[in-house]
Amino acid sequence: SPALAQDNDDDLAPPQMIPLSVMLDWYVNPVHAPIIIAKQRGLFEKRGLDVDIQSPADPSVPPKLVAAGRIDLAVSYQPQLHLQVDQGLPVVRVGTLIATPLNALLVRADSGIDDISQLAGKKIGYSVGGVEEVLLAAMLEHNGLSLKDVEMVNVNFSLTPALISEKVDAVTGAFRNFELAQMKQEGVEGKAFYIEEQGVPDYDELIFVANRDTLDQHRDADRRFMDAIGEATSWIINHPDDAWQSFIGYDPSLDTPLNAAAWKATLPRFALRPSALDTKRYRDFEAFLLERGQIKAQSPVSRLAVDLNASP
């Protein structure tokens, strides 16, 4: 039949799309806005990418799956990257999502703690993340204390509740854009100590990692992906309110007061040039971890991170 014939030799078929699987570090929240918006606005499709977004329940899983070649890109954390590479995972940073630390040490605003040195003898809650102890140690030492002067408690699932209910005096590993808003929503003012101001080298909180061994095959797709992220980020910065609408359009259950508050706190922290690589950050943090015995050997920056746009 003519209809069938038309179907068969349809030369208007779209060009072959490149499938690309991306795994977030955790459930979708405002820090993932550039990825979500790029998807929402068709920025991936425009570049011939068919992006599949997944989220895990355990943030330690995505880099492993990238290393195993199961997925193409994962959202991870720079401090974790150093540990991963040190342990021999063939992963490499190919882009930045959040260009500053989000990690902060939180106390209640009404606790009377104005200075980290006042934490001596106090209880500090944390969620096992691998580097929490080192980061805290660095902050404490920066303020003339040491780990021995505080009691560390792993509170795993419930940083905010533990702090609000005063089960602990401070929590570390909290995200400044999120947990502060959370506390406020529950009617408790929080106070954040920004870790990069307390003796911890500056780093990129959220990065994209890819498999180093197959990087060359995927370089083109990854480059297009980062390109889309960059475009999305600019658009978010330019049109924050439209971006919010688009964001909650992805999943209506994202439309909560907490997310709205976190949204605002997150906007200034997106990497405006997601592909750009600040080699110093990676060198310094690697040195920091080596000095503190968290890694066995210093890897060159080229093993840790690449600039996709630099000619190979």
Binding site: W26, Y27, N29, P56, A57, I164, S253, T256, L258, N259
Partner: protein, 258 residues
Amino acid sequence: MTDRLGWSRWMRPLLALVVLVAVWQLILTLTGVPRYILPSPMAVCRALIEQRGLLAHHAGITAIEIVAGLIGGILLGLATALALARFRALRRTLLPLLLISQAIPLFALAPILMLWLGYGIGPKILMAMVIIYFPVASTGYDGLRQTPQGWLDLARTFGLSRRQRLLKVQLPAALPSLASGLRMAASAAPIGAVIGEWVGSSQGLGYLMLNANARLQIDLMFAALVVLVAFALLLYFGVDAALRLAMPWQQDRITTDD
């Protein structure tokens, strides 16, 4: 016993519900637990109603996982119990392996499972199966071991093969014991599916709970929990009723009341 379908049958579970809600509210009032840790029953009710579409969607996914996991787990558990009872040589080898499968926290295996099974519904069903599997296999095996000797002797004089003896004598004799395991498995199935969802998924009640928890939508999390608990209760009493039908000769022998 006269009011089997009357009030004692339905009022008492209802009473349980009332007691539970009352205790819940009492805890809130007395200890002043903040609502982001334990929301009020009213708030959860509201979440249940307002978010019913969302809940129904995720509950549907979880229900499928539970049912598939239950069927798979029961079949696999039964097969294991039968194999253990049938092949003496297997026992000391297979039993430790079975135990090991139970003793491994699933999160340790999550990356492996994801690597092999991907993100689909497969690993969730597998998790539910693993959780259901053990009580069935364990009580089934215990039941199969305890067949009264007389029936085995009878089977022997009938010239039954070991296979027939296992299926026709030991298996029905193990039913009461197996029933115990099945009831337990039924009530554990929902949690199995939920754990499976934690391993990685973007749908289902487990996902919804973790997600709501991460966003501090504690009302929604508890609403999902209520649905989950309802599943567990339904399954338990459903399996219980099915077992009663399957064992018409077994009456509830509670005639100890004066």
